[in-house]
Symmetry: C2
């Protein structure tokens, strides 16, 4: 059923600093696409079934631009180290387990179910180097109704033996086999996923560049997250003027193929300029950057320059899947950055954080993350009843406190691409 | 029923860096006091009724050293300003409403119920300048079973007219009347609460000093939270060598009367030395200090120097009541402080954050926040079932992830001072 109307208190971002709110209004879904928001329902939609969420906030689905599915089991654990040591001590040990499909089955079942129950409608997801486990993850995502890109990870150097591809040619052959297997999915598409420069040989990058040209796939990776990592990339790629240039050398830094780079905490001016010119998306992951002591990304600068940006949970360096929490932490971290290091970039406002988690990140999927006409219809219905208050609140205030206070209990219903995924309390459709 | 045994996986802090864990063990409560933790229950306690929480983590009750009850309605709202502007724009407007007892009734009912449902067993709480509303808050706290200090706030200058006491003498008379009214409470005791130096005249401080000597009351206030505030105190008190000295001038800075100073983000070496020498407790409020762009307190230094310290939610500059969240943010903020400003103070570890939220803050109440022999018996039973994972975890890992991931759903039962406040799923007592 992809023709319907939702009634409620509707909120979405028009631009990064402009929030649109419409109380007791109607959002119309026609063939999975939003046909607009109306304070009085036009006659031509009166015959559509209507989900009546009067009194509830209704917002666009959220987008998680950066999440590692196999790391979900150790969320909230072992965040006592910086990036490289954390990868070696915690992450790689856990990811190696996905060679066993029975472990992947248990772990990905939990991940997918929790993601489905969250406010995230769309996500860009890292798997591991294991083709079978990654396909299993994609099957589960497909069943869940989430719209996603997922990546079988590539890494062929500086990695533990049990998590290191044999060589670039084998890696490319396995990756191509995986790409061809992905044809069977509708809502989950493959994405090239070189882990990051330190673990990808030049030969591997060349192979991935070839595959990208052949299949025109989007790409996700990591960039300028941690100071030690950046130094390491300098040593490994002495000819690259900056970290991003080490991707760009192989044509794997935006332009024709949509590209996400997670973190960009310490990006240089030249790197930022190239991101802007080549349409690279920044996945800002404030909790991860805090937990791994990486630093705080200059998100205000990205917004000012018009660099594409959205939010990522970055499980398991981030502890939870909530993109609401990522919004709150984006504001919080921008305040600490302003106070502690750089008063030239004013803190983010809540409208801007909401934009990043909806329309900002949603743009990676085309027209997603808004109720403007022509956008794909993703909607989250919020249940604020457990967040009691004695005073009157306007819609912007209700949204702001929801971002700070809510958890997955407070998601009353979820629609993705015009399909209703769940509804906590059955409602009358009239 | 104050003689009983709890069976479960018991965790508590021995020191700030040493976590004690005992699987399948027994914590014994005798007349409200902990008689120790045993892996095999001694014969003399075998006749005590036993709550069987096998498989659940059992931890000491948490302490919230700094929370403003009247600000609970606007938690998660309006955190777009720094301290002084935030007080004038948001806080004082809300606090003025407590002149109306009907508003206080609604608001304090919500606050007290949510506090009761949280993992907080003990709290030090600010009210407003309104005697009746503050007594109403104390009645509700008394009914809830929480053990608390609560304060009728004093402020007689630099405040909006409807939130400013008439003069020091009137303020003292009203405060004394309030103190005398508090005799009827068992679990909730009065605490002197001058809001902070900028809104308390010299004459008022003198009156409060007199009252403290007469009634030997503990005291709570704010200290060195924000750079602008500190400058203002310098102007107002040119004879004080540092902010804390402006309290000390009136004998209101520790020594005989237990004293909590919230924040201490920017305390000078001299101020810290005086806090240490005069046994002042620091209430570290990491979320508040982030939301109001105040900065990050040097908690590692307080731990190293042996300054008493615990955690505060600081509603509504902090968005929620959870002291688990305060623990996580204490670690997170200490990492950002280390990365961004001062590599001489290494980040907090999770054991240290847990200590601050239990035994560290609990010390303000005497022996509280631990299951060591002789401590008052506060216990929280954790329900980890919603935080699913595919792998085995040890007790420390279970505790760490609970701190990062849990919310009030995950509190299965709560005991304060040997009294069971609630139990979510009725269990057999045998």
């Amino acid at each position: 059923m992809k023709k319907f109307v939702i009634k409620g208190d509707i909120c979405y971002s028009e631009t990064s600093d402009k929030l649109y709110t419409a109380k007791d209004s109607y959002a119309v879904c026609e063939d999975g696409i939003c046909a607009g928001v109306y304070q009085k329902l036009p006659e031509r939609y009166e015959a559509f079934p209507c989900y009546d969420y009067t009194g509830h906030l209704v917002i666009p689905g959220l987008t998680d631009l950066h999440v590692h599915a196999p790391q979900y089991p150790f969320r909230g654990l072992g965040m006592d180290l910086e990036l490289i040591d954390w990868l070696n001590t915690h992450t790689f040990v856990e990811e190696a387990k996905y060679a066993e499909l029975s472990y992947a089955e248990k772990a990905y079942e939990i991940f997918t179910e929790d993601l489905r129950n969250s406010a995230t409608a769309r996500a860009c997801i890292f798997g591991t180097i294991h083709t079978k486990a990654t396909l299993l993850l994609m099957e589960k995502l497909e069943e869940s109704g989430i719209i996603a890109y997922a990546g079988r990870v590539n890494m062929d150097r500086n990695s533990p033996e049990n998590l290191c591809e044999k060589d670039a040619v084998t890696a490319a052959r396995d990756t191509e086999e995986w790409i061809l297997e992905c044809g069977r999915f509708q809502n989950v598409r493959p994405m090239l996923t070189p882990r990051f420069i330190p673990v990808c040989s030049d030969a591997l990058m060349e192979e991935l560049s070839r595959l990208q040209k052949k299949y025109h796939l989007p790409l996700q990776s990591h960039l300028s997250e941690n100071l030690g990592e950046i130094e390491w990339v300098k040593e490994l790629c002495p000819d690259a003027a900056f970290y991003g240039a080490a991707y760009d050398k192989y044509g794997l830094f935006g332009n024709d193929c949509p590209t996400i780079m997670a973190h960009c905490v310490h990006s240089s001016e030249d790197e930022i300029r190239m991101m802007k010119e080549q349409n690279v998306f920044v996945a800002h992951c404030p909790e991860s950057n805090t937990n791994l002591s990486s630093g705080i990304a200059p998100v205000r600068k990205y917004l000012e320059l018009g660099v594409h940006a959205g939010l990522g949970s970055d499980i398991a360096a981030g502890s939870g899947l909530s993109i609401f929490k990522a919004m709150a932490m984006a504001v919080q971290c921008s305040k600490l950055r302003w106070r502690l290091t750089d008063q030239s970039l004013v803190p983010l406002r809540i409208e801007e954080a909401f934009y990043l988690g909806t329309k900002g990140g949603g743009a990676f999927f085309g027209k997603a993350g808004s109720f403007e006409k022509g956008y794909e219809f993703d909607a989250i219905v919020l249940d604020e009843s457990s967040l009691r208050h004695p005073q009157e609140l306007d819609m912007k205030e209700r949204l702001e406190r929801f971002i700070y206070l809510a958890d997955d209990r407070c998601i009353a219903a979820k629609f993705v691409g015009g399909v209703r995924l769940f509804e906590k309390n059955q409602r009358h459709v009239f």
